[in-house]
């Protein structure tokens, strides 16, 4: 016959069996999958155990408020980790079974060392994974620009650390100008990882405008560093094209993002200092280069100047030497010339003298010869002239005799002829003729020699020795 039990009776049996099977308290390893605090300060949780992603066990758990008030701060200060979902814990529990509410674990105590160890293990696993993927050093190997001047900041706007960071940058003693732009993100809690990744993605859009990324977080109260031991965030940082500098305000061991970041600083202020010192170093380098330039240039100029002075001295010497040399040459040439000229003129003088002698001798000979010739010619001429003179004189004398003789004769003859003519002329003179009784007839002033020219009634003039008469022709015979 089958024994029948009521549900309560069954529950009671399970409770009894449970109590005998399980000690009053037991240490259990589990992962907190949910966590809620109610207003009375009690904490309600769900604990799970996973195999891969599959949940193989699940249980409700409670921490009564008087226990929770002590356990929570103890856990958080010891681990540096929020007491929240997603962490693995080792808790001391009593297994409660209530017929009306079922199985529940009441947490009495917690061992933070386990969580720390687990976190360390997780951390180690993440690091190993990143290393295995070969990306661990990728951001660290990026070259930080000579002057990280344009900085993308990931932080929360209200964080004290962010303000410190800005003040530090703006008031740097060298007066270097920095440019920042805030990409806001949650810096703690479960939202931190996705929100920081999203901020990185937004910065990626403006990659060319920035030199570096600063992830900063103020000191805050209790540190929640678990966000920064996250694989996804760490991976994003390794892949980021700009150098990432962290300043997430903790003194503990580096988080994974500190490890994979290009540079890890402890606080936001230290990050600002890091950028400033980089820029200042560059500024000093510039100043150094400037001084170097001045030094080298001065040195170069000094060398040139020295060389120039050397040249000037050399030139002076050279020119002096040159002039002396030329002077000597000139003098020598002058002497030589003088000598040559003397010799030449002497030679020429000698030749001239010779010529003169020759000329003189030739001239003397010529002169004597010429004189002789002239004398002989003269003598000849004289003789000829004398002879011809003699001849001419005798001819002349002869002619003179003849002329004298002829002239006398001619003159006598002519005298006789003249006398004869004189007589004739006297006889022939019309006056004498008239005197002898002859007349002269004229018609119109002309002598009339014939009657032909006279007409009847012509008036004619008849001249007599003692006068004249006029008559008229009356008759012509």
């Amino acid at each position: 016959m089958q024994q029948k039990l009521t549900l309560f009776e069954l529950s009671q049996k399970i409770k009894d069996a449970l109590q005998s099977a399980v000690p009053a308290t037991v240490w259990v390893v589990a992962e907190i999958s949910e966590l809620k605090e109610n207003r009375n300060g009690h904490c309600y949780l769900e604990l799970v155990e996973k195999e891969g992603n599959e949940i193989i066990a699940r249980a409700r758990a409670t921490i009564w408020s008087y226990t929770y008030r002590i356990l929570k701060p103890y856990f958080e200060t010891t681990t540096g980790q929020y007491f929240t979902h997603g962490i693995k814990v080792l808790v001391q529990v009593s297994v409660e079974f209530h017929p009306a509410y079922g199985l529940s674990l009441n947490i009495k105590d917690i061992d933070p060392a386990y969580t720390v160890g687990d976190m360390a293990l997780q951390r180690k696993e993440i690091i190993e994974r990143i290393q295995d993927e070969g990306v661990f050093d990728m951001n660290r190997e990026l070259k930080l620009p000579l002057v990280p001047q344009k900085i993308a900041v990931i932080s929360s706007k209200t964080a004290a650390g962010y303000q410190d960071f800005l003040n530090q940058l703006d008031n740097n003693s060298s007066g270097i100008k920095f440019y920042t732009h805030l990409f806001e993100a949650w810096m703690q809690g479960s939202e931190a990882v996705p929100s920081i990744i999203s901020a990185l993605d937004r910065i990626f859009e403006y990659e060319d405008y920035f030199d570096a990324v600063a992830i900063i977080r103020g000191g805050g109260a209790t540190a929640d560093l678990s966000s920064f031991d996250n694989y996804d965030l760490a991976f994003h940082i390794t892949q980021f094209p700009l150098p990432v500098v962290t300043g997430i305000g903790h003194e503990k061991d580096d988080t994974i993002i500190d490890l994979v970041a290009h540079t890890r600083m402890k606080t936001p202020t230290a990050v600002a200092e890091f950028f400033i010192s980089g820029a200042e170093l560059f500024y000093e380098r510039l100043t150094g280069l400037e001084e170097e330039m001045v030094r080298i240039t001065r040195e170069r100029i000094d060398v040139k100047k020295e060389k120039l002075e050397e040249f000037a001295a050399d030139l002076h010497q050279f020119v002096g030497g040159f002039i002396n040399k030329k002077n000597r040459q000139l003098l020598k040439t002058g002497n030589h010339l003088h000598q040559q000229v003397n010799r030449f003129s002497f030679n020429k003088q000698y030749e001239l003298n010779n010529l003169r002698h020759d000329l003189h001798a030739a001239f003397s000979v010529w002169k004597v010869e010429t004189k002789n010739r002239i004398d002989s010619r003269k003598r000849i001429l004289k003789r000829v002239v004398h002879e011809s003179l003699l001849k001419e004189t005798s001819g002349f004398n002869q002619l003179k005799g003849r002329l004298k003789h002829g002239s006398v004769r001619f003159l006598t003859k002519e005298q006789e002829r003249m006398l004869r003519h004189e007589n004739t002329i006297r006889l022939l003179n019309p006056e004498n003729v008239l005197n002898r009784g002859y007349t002269l007839t004229l018609k119109e002033g002309r002598i009339v020699k014939s009657v032909v020219s006279i007409e009847l009634n012509d008036e004619i003039e008849t001249r007599f020795a003692d006068g004249k008469v006029k008559s008229k022709i009356t008759k012509k015979e």
Binding site: L289, E292, T297, I301
Partner: protein, 66 residues
């Protein structure tokens, strides 16, 4: 103004190169003056970039979404 876009790296490399040249090579005075002038220009560009606000950069950052 191509010179305005010189990066710090390029500027410093060029300056160092020029200084080396000045130190190691026999430059005449004109070349020297030219080099010194170039170095001065590069130094000035770097210092201005370091110390003076670039309005353009400011503007771009202002326009970015947060």
């Amino acid at each position: 103004m191509a010179t305005k876009k010189v990066t710090y790296n390029e500027a410093v490399s060029e300056i160092e190169e020029i200084l080396e040249k000045i130190e190691s090579e026999e430059l005449d005075v004109d070349e020297l003056a030219e080099k010194v002038k170039r170095v001065s220009v590069l130094l000035k560009i770097c210092k201005d970039k370091l110390l003076k606000t670039n309005e353009q950069v400011d503007q771009v950052l202002k326009e970015m979404e947060e």
